[in-house]
Symmetry: C2
Subunit: 223 residues, 2 copies
Protein backbone atom coordinates (compact mmCIF):
# COMPACT_ATOMS: atom_id res chain seq x y z
CA UNK A 1 0.00 0.00 0.00
CA UNK A 2 2.65 2.47 -1.10
CA UNK A 3 1.99 6.14 -1.75
CA UNK A 4 0.70 6.72 -5.28
CA UNK A 5 3.39 8.51 -7.32
CA UNK A 6 0.94 9.97 -9.85
CA UNK A 7 0.41 13.18 -7.92
CA UNK A 8 4.10 13.92 -7.87
CA UNK A 9 4.43 13.16 -11.56
CA UNK A 10 1.57 15.54 -12.34
CA UNK A 11 3.12 18.27 -10.25
CA UNK A 12 6.40 17.86 -12.11
CA UNK A 13 4.59 17.93 -15.43
CA UNK A 14 2.80 21.10 -14.43
CA UNK A 15 6.10 22.81 -13.57
CA UNK A 16 7.74 21.68 -16.81
CA UNK A 17 4.75 22.75 -18.84
CA UNK A 18 4.65 26.19 -17.23
CA UNK A 19 8.38 26.58 -17.80
CA UNK A 20 8.13 25.59 -21.48
CA UNK A 21 5.22 27.95 -22.13
CA UNK A 22 7.02 30.72 -20.26
CA UNK A 23 10.19 30.29 -22.33
CA UNK A 24 8.09 30.43 -25.49
CA UNK A 25 6.55 33.67 -24.28
CA UNK A 26 3.09 32.12 -24.18
CA UNK A 27 0.49 32.03 -21.44
CA UNK A 28 0.11 28.55 -20.03
CA UNK A 29 -3.34 27.01 -20.53
CA UNK A 30 -5.62 27.63 -17.59
CA UNK A 31 -5.05 24.84 -15.12
CA UNK A 32 -7.99 22.67 -14.11
CA UNK A 33 -9.01 22.05 -10.51
CA UNK A 34 -7.17 18.73 -10.52
CA UNK A 35 -4.06 17.33 -12.20
CA UNK A 36 -4.65 15.16 -15.28
CA UNK A 37 -3.50 11.59 -14.79
CA UNK A 38 -3.41 9.09 -17.68
CA UNK A 39 -2.98 5.45 -16.76
CA UNK A 40 -2.70 2.31 -18.87
CA UNK A 41 -4.94 -0.56 -17.77
CA UNK A 42 -3.39 -3.92 -18.53
CA UNK A 43 -5.76 -6.85 -19.04
CA UNK A 44 -7.68 -7.72 -15.88
CA UNK A 45 -10.99 -8.97 -14.55
CA UNK A 46 -13.66 -7.91 -12.08
CA UNK A 47 -15.47 -10.63 -10.14
CA UNK A 48 -18.50 -11.07 -7.92
CA UNK A 49 -18.00 -12.30 -4.33
CA UNK A 50 -19.57 -15.62 -5.43
CA UNK A 51 -17.06 -15.98 -8.27
CA UNK A 52 -14.17 -15.32 -5.89
CA UNK A 53 -15.41 -18.07 -3.57
CA UNK A 54 -15.87 -20.48 -6.47
CA UNK A 55 -12.33 -19.86 -7.72
CA UNK A 56 -10.48 -19.47 -4.41
CA UNK A 57 -12.62 -21.41 -1.91
CA UNK A 58 -15.53 -20.77 0.49
CA UNK A 59 -15.24 -17.56 2.49
CA UNK A 60 -12.28 -16.29 0.46
CA UNK A 61 -11.96 -12.51 0.10
CA UNK A 62 -9.59 -10.60 -2.21
CA UNK A 63 -6.37 -9.26 -0.71
CA UNK A 64 -5.29 -5.80 -1.89
CA UNK A 65 -1.77 -5.86 -3.37
CA UNK A 66 -1.50 -2.39 -4.93
CA UNK A 67 -3.86 0.54 -4.52
CA UNK A 68 -4.95 2.22 -7.74
CA UNK A 69 -5.48 5.93 -8.35
CA UNK A 70 -9.26 5.82 -7.87
CA UNK A 71 -10.06 5.71 -4.15
CA UNK A 72 -10.72 2.21 -2.83
CA UNK A 73 -9.78 0.41 -6.06
CA UNK A 74 -6.94 -2.06 -5.99
CA UNK A 75 -5.08 -4.78 -7.85
CA UNK A 76 -5.53 -7.94 -5.81
CA UNK A 77 -2.86 -10.44 -4.92
CA UNK A 78 -5.12 -13.04 -6.53
CA UNK A 79 -5.01 -13.80 -10.23
CA UNK A 80 -6.75 -16.38 -12.41
CA UNK A 81 -6.04 -18.35 -15.55
CA UNK A 82 -8.27 -17.48 -18.48
CA UNK A 83 -9.10 -20.01 -21.18
CA UNK A 84 -10.46 -18.77 -24.49
CA UNK A 85 -12.65 -20.53 -27.05
CA UNK A 86 -9.74 -22.24 -28.78
CA UNK A 87 -8.27 -23.55 -25.52
CA UNK A 88 -5.59 -20.90 -25.61
CA UNK A 89 -4.64 -19.51 -22.22
CA UNK A 90 -3.76 -16.25 -20.52
CA UNK A 91 -2.02 -16.94 -17.21
CA UNK A 92 -1.96 -14.62 -14.25
CA UNK A 93 -4.92 -12.50 -15.27
CA UNK A 94 -5.03 -9.93 -12.48
CA UNK A 95 -8.22 -9.42 -10.46
CA UNK A 96 -9.13 -5.85 -9.58
CA UNK A 97 -11.03 -5.24 -6.36
CA UNK A 98 -13.31 -4.62 -4.65
CA UNK A 99 -15.81 -7.17 -5.94
CA UNK A 100 -18.59 -6.03 -8.25
CA UNK A 101 -22.06 -7.24 -9.11
CA UNK A 102 -20.97 -8.83 -12.37
CA UNK A 103 -18.03 -10.73 -13.79
CA UNK A 104 -16.13 -8.92 -16.53
CA UNK A 105 -12.83 -9.54 -18.31
CA UNK A 106 -11.11 -6.58 -19.98
CA UNK A 107 -8.56 -7.37 -22.69
CA UNK A 108 -6.68 -5.41 -25.34
CA UNK A 109 -7.11 -6.50 -28.96
CA UNK A 110 -3.58 -7.89 -28.86
CA UNK A 111 -4.66 -10.20 -26.04
CA UNK A 112 -7.84 -11.24 -27.81
CA UNK A 113 -5.95 -11.96 -31.03
CA UNK A 114 -3.53 -14.15 -29.05
CA UNK A 115 -6.55 -16.03 -27.67
CA UNK A 116 -8.11 -16.36 -31.14
CA UNK A 117 -11.02 -14.23 -30.08
CA UNK A 118 -13.05 -11.39 -31.52
CA UNK A 119 -14.27 -9.12 -28.73
CA UNK A 120 -16.39 -5.97 -28.84
CA UNK A 121 -15.56 -2.52 -27.50
CA UNK A 122 -17.88 -1.74 -24.59
CA UNK A 123 -18.28 0.59 -21.66
CA UNK A 124 -17.56 -1.21 -18.40
CA UNK A 125 -20.67 -3.00 -17.13
CA UNK A 126 -22.35 -3.19 -20.55
CA UNK A 127 -21.62 -6.83 -21.29
CA UNK A 128 -24.87 -8.11 -22.77
CA UNK A 129 -24.23 -10.39 -25.74
CA UNK A 130 -20.44 -10.29 -25.37
CA UNK A 131 -18.40 -13.51 -25.61
CA UNK A 132 -17.60 -15.62 -22.56
CA UNK A 133 -14.61 -17.61 -21.37
CA UNK A 134 -13.51 -19.98 -18.65
CA UNK A 135 -11.63 -18.82 -15.56
CA UNK A 136 -9.60 -21.19 -13.42
CA UNK A 137 -8.47 -20.62 -9.85
CA UNK A 138 -6.80 -22.80 -7.21
CA UNK A 139 -10.14 -24.01 -5.82
CA UNK A 140 -12.26 -24.35 -8.92
CA UNK A 141 -13.28 -23.02 -12.27
CA UNK A 142 -15.98 -20.70 -13.50
CA UNK A 143 -17.65 -20.65 -16.88
CA UNK A 144 -18.67 -17.16 -17.99
CA UNK A 145 -21.37 -17.04 -20.65
CA UNK A 146 -20.54 -13.43 -21.40
CA UNK A 147 -18.37 -10.61 -20.06
CA UNK A 148 -15.22 -10.47 -22.19
CA UNK A 149 -14.78 -6.96 -23.60
CA UNK A 150 -12.30 -4.40 -24.73
CA UNK A 151 -13.03 -1.45 -22.45
CA UNK A 152 -13.64 1.75 -24.39
CA UNK A 153 -11.12 4.46 -23.46
CA UNK A 154 -12.66 6.74 -20.85
CA UNK A 155 -12.00 9.49 -18.36
CA UNK A 156 -13.13 9.52 -14.75
CA UNK A 157 -13.84 12.97 -13.35
CA UNK A 158 -15.76 14.67 -10.59
CA UNK A 159 -18.34 17.41 -11.23
CA UNK A 160 -15.76 20.18 -10.71
CA UNK A 161 -13.61 18.70 -13.47
CA UNK A 162 -16.66 18.32 -15.73
CA UNK A 163 -17.53 21.97 -15.17
CA UNK A 164 -13.96 23.07 -15.93
CA UNK A 165 -13.86 21.11 -19.20
CA UNK A 166 -17.45 21.96 -20.13
CA UNK A 167 -18.53 18.35 -20.49
CA UNK A 168 -21.05 16.00 -18.93
CA UNK A 169 -21.50 12.27 -18.30
CA UNK A 170 -21.67 10.41 -21.62
CA UNK A 171 -19.85 13.02 -23.71
CA UNK A 172 -16.73 12.22 -25.67
CA UNK A 173 -13.47 14.17 -25.37
CA UNK A 174 -10.10 14.04 -27.08
CA UNK A 175 -6.88 13.03 -25.34
CA UNK A 176 -3.73 14.37 -26.95
CA UNK A 177 -0.50 12.56 -26.17
CA UNK A 178 2.71 14.26 -27.30
CA UNK A 179 6.08 12.84 -28.29
CA UNK A 180 7.59 11.24 -31.36
CA UNK A 181 4.61 8.86 -31.60
CA UNK A 182 2.09 11.62 -30.92
CA UNK A 183 -1.49 10.38 -31.00
CA UNK A 184 -4.87 11.98 -30.36
CA UNK A 185 -7.50 9.62 -29.01
CA UNK A 186 -10.69 11.11 -30.45
CA UNK A 187 -13.23 9.07 -28.47
CA UNK A 188 -12.59 9.33 -24.72
CA UNK A 189 -15.89 8.59 -22.98
CA UNK A 190 -16.67 10.89 -20.03
CA UNK A 191 -17.75 9.36 -16.71
CA UNK A 192 -18.69 11.78 -13.95
CA UNK A 193 -19.11 10.95 -10.26
CA UNK A 194 -18.51 12.72 -6.96
CA UNK A 195 -16.23 9.86 -5.98
CA UNK A 196 -13.99 10.01 -9.09
CA UNK A 197 -10.53 11.48 -9.35
CA UNK A 198 -9.52 12.93 -12.73
CA UNK A 199 -7.97 10.01 -14.59
CA UNK A 200 -7.98 8.74 -18.17
CA UNK A 201 -7.87 4.97 -18.66
CA UNK A 202 -6.46 3.61 -21.91
CA UNK A 203 -5.47 0.01 -22.54
CA UNK A 204 -2.12 -1.50 -23.44
CA UNK A 205 -2.74 -1.30 -27.19
CA UNK A 206 -3.44 2.40 -26.87
CA UNK A 207 -0.56 2.97 -24.44
CA UNK A 208 1.88 1.15 -26.72
CA UNK A 209 0.59 2.90 -29.84
CA UNK A 210 1.49 6.33 -28.45
CA UNK A 211 4.47 5.18 -26.38
CA UNK A 212 2.98 6.67 -23.20
CA UNK A 213 5.58 7.22 -20.51
CA UNK A 214 5.42 9.01 -17.15
CA UNK A 215 6.85 12.13 -18.82
CA UNK A 216 4.56 12.18 -21.86
CA UNK A 217 2.78 15.50 -22.28
CA UNK A 218 -0.96 14.84 -22.13
CA UNK A 219 -3.90 17.13 -22.72
CA UNK A 220 -7.65 16.56 -22.45
CA UNK A 221 -9.67 18.57 -24.98
CA UNK A 222 -13.39 19.15 -25.38
CA UNK A 223 -14.57 17.84 -28.74
Amino acid sequence: MSANPAITRSQIEKLVRESVYSQLGLAAPKAGPNPLVVNVSARHCHLTPQAVEQLFGPGHELTPMKWLYQDGQYAAEESVTMVGPRSRVISNLRILGPCRELNQVELAYTDSIALGYKIPVRQSGNIKGTPGCMLMGPAGFLELDEGVIRAAPHVHMNPDDAKFYGVKQGDYMKLRVGGELGVTFDRIFVRVSDSFKLEVHIDTDEGNACGLTPDSLVELVKT
Copy 2:
Protein backbone atom coordinates in the same frame (compact mmCIF):
# COMPACT_ATOMS: atom_id res chain seq x y z
CA MET B 1 0.43 -13.75 -56.15
CA SER B 2 -3.25 -12.88 -55.99
CA ALA B 3 -4.68 -9.58 -57.12
CA ASN B 4 -4.38 -6.95 -54.38
CA PRO B 5 -7.86 -6.17 -52.99
CA ALA B 6 -6.86 -2.73 -51.67
CA ILE B 7 -7.86 -0.89 -54.83
CA THR B 8 -11.35 -2.31 -54.66
CA ARG B 9 -11.62 -1.46 -50.97
CA SER B 10 -10.58 2.11 -51.67
CA GLN B 11 -13.07 2.42 -54.46
CA ILE B 12 -15.82 1.20 -52.16
CA GLU B 13 -14.72 3.64 -49.48
CA LYS B 14 -14.80 6.45 -52.00
CA LEU B 15 -18.36 5.60 -53.00
CA VAL B 16 -19.51 5.33 -49.39
CA ARG B 17 -17.83 8.59 -48.49
CA GLU B 18 -19.38 10.44 -51.41
CA SER B 19 -22.78 9.02 -50.51
CA VAL B 20 -22.47 10.06 -46.85
CA TYR B 21 -21.36 13.58 -47.73
CA SER B 22 -24.13 13.84 -50.31
CA GLN B 23 -26.79 12.78 -47.78
CA LEU B 24 -25.46 15.39 -45.36
CA GLY B 25 -25.76 18.00 -48.09
CA LEU B 26 -22.02 18.64 -48.05
CA ALA B 27 -19.52 18.70 -50.86
CA ALA B 28 -17.20 15.71 -50.69
CA PRO B 29 -13.54 16.61 -50.09
CA LYS B 30 -11.61 16.87 -53.31
CA ALA B 31 -10.30 13.45 -54.19
CA GLY B 32 -6.56 12.99 -54.54
CA PRO B 33 -4.90 11.53 -57.62
CA ASN B 34 -4.66 8.12 -55.92
CA PRO B 35 -6.74 6.16 -53.41
CA LEU B 36 -5.50 6.23 -49.80
CA VAL B 37 -4.49 2.81 -48.54
CA VAL B 38 -3.62 2.19 -44.87
CA ASN B 39 -1.90 -1.07 -44.05
CA VAL B 40 -0.74 -2.59 -40.77
CA SER B 41 2.80 -3.95 -40.81
CA ALA B 42 3.19 -6.90 -38.48
CA ARG B 43 6.67 -7.53 -37.07
CA HIS B 44 9.16 -8.52 -39.77
CA CYS B 45 12.77 -8.23 -40.86
CA HIS B 46 14.77 -7.11 -43.86
CA LEU B 47 17.99 -8.96 -44.66
CA THR B 48 21.06 -8.61 -46.85
CA PRO B 49 21.80 -11.32 -49.44
CA GLN B 50 24.72 -12.39 -47.22
CA ALA B 51 22.43 -12.78 -44.20
CA VAL B 52 19.99 -14.90 -46.23
CA GLU B 53 22.82 -17.22 -47.27
CA GLN B 54 24.09 -17.48 -43.70
CA LEU B 55 20.63 -18.38 -42.39
CA PHE B 56 19.34 -20.51 -45.26
CA GLY B 57 22.48 -21.86 -46.94
CA PRO B 58 24.91 -20.88 -49.74
CA GLY B 59 23.22 -19.56 -52.86
CA HIS B 60 19.80 -19.35 -51.22
CA GLU B 61 17.47 -16.64 -52.47
CA LEU B 62 14.16 -15.51 -50.95
CA THR B 63 10.95 -16.91 -52.45
CA PRO B 64 8.03 -14.46 -52.76
CA MET B 65 4.93 -15.74 -50.94
CA LYS B 66 2.66 -12.70 -51.02
CA TRP B 67 3.12 -9.48 -52.96
CA LEU B 68 2.69 -6.27 -50.96
CA TYR B 69 1.07 -3.04 -52.09
CA GLN B 70 4.34 -1.30 -52.97
CA ASP B 71 5.57 -2.56 -56.34
CA GLY B 72 8.17 -5.33 -56.10
CA GLN B 73 7.90 -5.73 -52.31
CA TYR B 74 6.87 -9.10 -50.93
CA ALA B 75 6.52 -11.25 -47.85
CA ALA B 76 8.86 -14.18 -48.35
CA GLU B 77 8.08 -17.82 -47.71
CA GLU B 78 11.14 -17.81 -45.45
CA SER B 79 10.95 -16.81 -41.80
CA VAL B 80 13.49 -16.80 -38.98
CA THR B 81 13.52 -17.27 -35.23
CA MET B 82 14.52 -14.15 -33.29
CA VAL B 83 16.20 -14.39 -29.90
CA GLY B 84 16.22 -11.33 -27.66
CA PRO B 85 18.63 -10.33 -24.90
CA ARG B 86 16.87 -12.38 -22.24
CA SER B 87 16.79 -15.52 -24.38
CA ARG B 88 13.13 -15.00 -25.11
CA VAL B 89 12.06 -15.95 -28.59
CA ILE B 90 9.82 -14.80 -31.41
CA SER B 91 9.18 -17.67 -33.82
CA ASN B 92 8.27 -17.29 -37.48
CA LEU B 93 9.50 -13.73 -37.87
CA ARG B 94 8.59 -13.01 -41.48
CA ILE B 95 11.26 -11.82 -43.92
CA LEU B 96 10.25 -9.11 -46.38
CA GLY B 97 11.95 -9.02 -49.76
CA PRO B 98 13.72 -8.12 -51.87
CA CYS B 99 17.00 -8.07 -49.95
CA ARG B 100 18.41 -4.74 -48.76
CA GLU B 101 21.82 -3.40 -47.92
CA LEU B 102 21.32 -3.73 -44.17
CA ASN B 103 19.70 -6.07 -41.70
CA GLN B 104 16.77 -4.59 -39.80
CA VAL B 105 14.10 -6.04 -37.51
CA GLU B 106 10.86 -4.08 -37.07
CA LEU B 107 8.78 -4.83 -33.97
CA ALA B 108 5.81 -3.27 -32.21
CA TYR B 109 6.26 -2.27 -28.56
CA THR B 110 4.07 -5.21 -27.56
CA ASP B 111 6.58 -7.53 -29.23
CA SER B 112 9.56 -5.81 -27.62
CA ILE B 113 7.93 -5.96 -24.19
CA ALA B 114 7.34 -9.69 -24.67
CA LEU B 115 11.05 -10.05 -25.49
CA GLY B 116 12.07 -7.95 -22.46
CA TYR B 117 13.52 -5.31 -24.73
CA LYS B 118 13.49 -1.54 -24.94
CA ILE B 119 13.67 -0.44 -28.58
CA PRO B 120 13.75 3.02 -30.14
CA VAL B 121 11.40 4.51 -32.71
CA ARG B 122 13.31 5.06 -35.95
CA GLN B 123 12.78 5.69 -39.63
CA SER B 124 13.60 2.59 -41.64
CA GLY B 125 17.31 2.42 -42.43
CA ASN B 126 18.35 4.64 -39.52
CA ILE B 127 19.59 1.94 -37.17
CA LYS B 128 22.79 3.40 -35.74
CA GLY B 129 23.05 2.69 -32.02
CA THR B 130 19.90 0.55 -31.89
CA PRO B 131 19.90 -2.77 -30.02
CA GLY B 132 20.77 -6.05 -31.70
CA CYS B 133 19.49 -9.60 -31.51
CA MET B 134 20.19 -13.09 -32.75
CA LEU B 135 18.44 -14.58 -35.76
CA MET B 136 18.28 -18.33 -36.38
CA GLY B 137 17.53 -20.07 -39.66
CA PRO B 138 17.65 -23.69 -40.81
CA ALA B 139 21.26 -23.39 -41.98
CA GLY B 140 22.82 -21.16 -39.37
CA PHE B 141 22.49 -18.20 -37.09
CA LEU B 142 23.33 -14.53 -37.36
CA GLU B 143 24.24 -12.15 -34.58
CA LEU B 144 23.08 -8.57 -35.25
CA ASP B 145 24.91 -5.89 -33.30
CA GLU B 146 22.19 -3.40 -34.10
CA GLY B 147 19.06 -3.07 -36.23
CA VAL B 148 16.07 -3.75 -33.95
CA ILE B 149 13.64 -0.82 -34.16
CA ARG B 150 10.06 0.19 -33.94
CA ALA B 151 9.38 1.75 -37.34
CA ALA B 152 7.93 5.24 -37.09
CA PRO B 153 4.50 5.44 -38.74
CA HIS B 154 4.92 6.81 -42.26
CA VAL B 155 3.25 7.37 -45.58
CA HIS B 156 4.66 6.45 -48.96
CA MET B 157 3.60 8.71 -51.81
CA ASN B 158 4.66 9.79 -55.25
CA PRO B 159 5.28 13.44 -56.23
CA ASP B 160 1.71 13.84 -57.54
CA ASP B 161 0.32 12.82 -54.14
CA ALA B 162 2.77 15.15 -52.37
CA LYS B 163 1.62 18.02 -54.58
CA PHE B 164 -2.04 17.24 -53.90
CA TYR B 165 -1.52 17.18 -50.13
CA GLY B 166 0.91 20.11 -50.15
CA VAL B 167 3.68 18.22 -48.38
CA LYS B 168 7.24 17.19 -49.11
CA GLN B 169 9.68 14.45 -48.11
CA GLY B 170 10.40 14.62 -44.36
CA ASP B 171 7.19 16.45 -43.40
CA TYR B 172 4.75 15.05 -40.88
CA MET B 173 1.03 14.60 -41.57
CA LYS B 174 -1.94 13.43 -39.53
CA LEU B 175 -3.84 10.24 -40.22
CA ARG B 176 -7.41 10.22 -38.94
CA VAL B 177 -9.04 6.84 -38.42
CA GLY B 178 -12.77 6.87 -37.71
CA GLY B 179 -14.98 4.49 -35.77
CA GLU B 180 -15.78 3.82 -32.12
CA LEU B 181 -12.06 3.78 -31.28
CA GLY B 182 -11.34 6.84 -33.40
CA VAL B 183 -7.69 7.88 -33.29
CA THR B 184 -5.65 10.56 -35.02
CA PHE B 185 -2.01 9.67 -35.56
CA ASP B 186 -0.34 13.07 -35.34
CA ARG B 187 3.13 12.10 -36.58
CA ILE B 188 2.97 10.32 -39.92
CA PHE B 189 6.34 10.79 -41.61
CA VAL B 190 6.18 11.61 -45.33
CA ARG B 191 8.34 9.65 -47.77
CA VAL B 192 8.20 10.71 -51.41
CA SER B 193 9.50 8.73 -54.37
CA ASP B 194 8.51 8.27 -58.01
CA SER B 195 8.24 4.55 -57.35
CA PHE B 196 5.89 4.82 -54.35
CA LYS B 197 2.17 4.14 -54.30
CA LEU B 198 0.10 6.11 -51.77
CA GLU B 199 0.12 3.96 -48.63
CA VAL B 200 0.32 4.59 -44.89
CA HIS B 201 2.17 2.01 -42.81
CA ILE B 202 1.28 1.68 -39.15
CA ASP B 203 2.29 -1.18 -36.88
CA THR B 204 0.18 -3.70 -34.98
CA ASP B 205 0.09 -1.58 -31.80
CA GLU B 206 -1.26 1.34 -33.79
CA GLY B 207 -3.63 -0.83 -35.81
CA ASN B 208 -5.01 -2.47 -32.67
CA ALA B 209 -5.31 0.84 -30.81
CA CYS B 210 -7.69 2.25 -33.42
CA GLY B 211 -9.27 -1.07 -34.36
CA LEU B 212 -8.41 -0.59 -38.04
CA THR B 213 -10.50 -2.75 -40.33
CA PRO B 214 -10.87 -2.79 -44.12
CA ASP B 215 -13.97 -0.60 -43.79
CA SER B 216 -12.48 2.00 -41.41
CA LEU B 217 -12.84 5.54 -42.73
CA VAL B 218 -9.34 7.00 -43.07
CA GLU B 219 -8.17 10.47 -43.94
CA LEU B 220 -4.71 11.95 -44.43
CA VAL B 221 -4.43 15.57 -43.31
CA LYS B 222 -1.69 18.16 -43.70
CA THR B 223 -0.47 19.30 -40.28
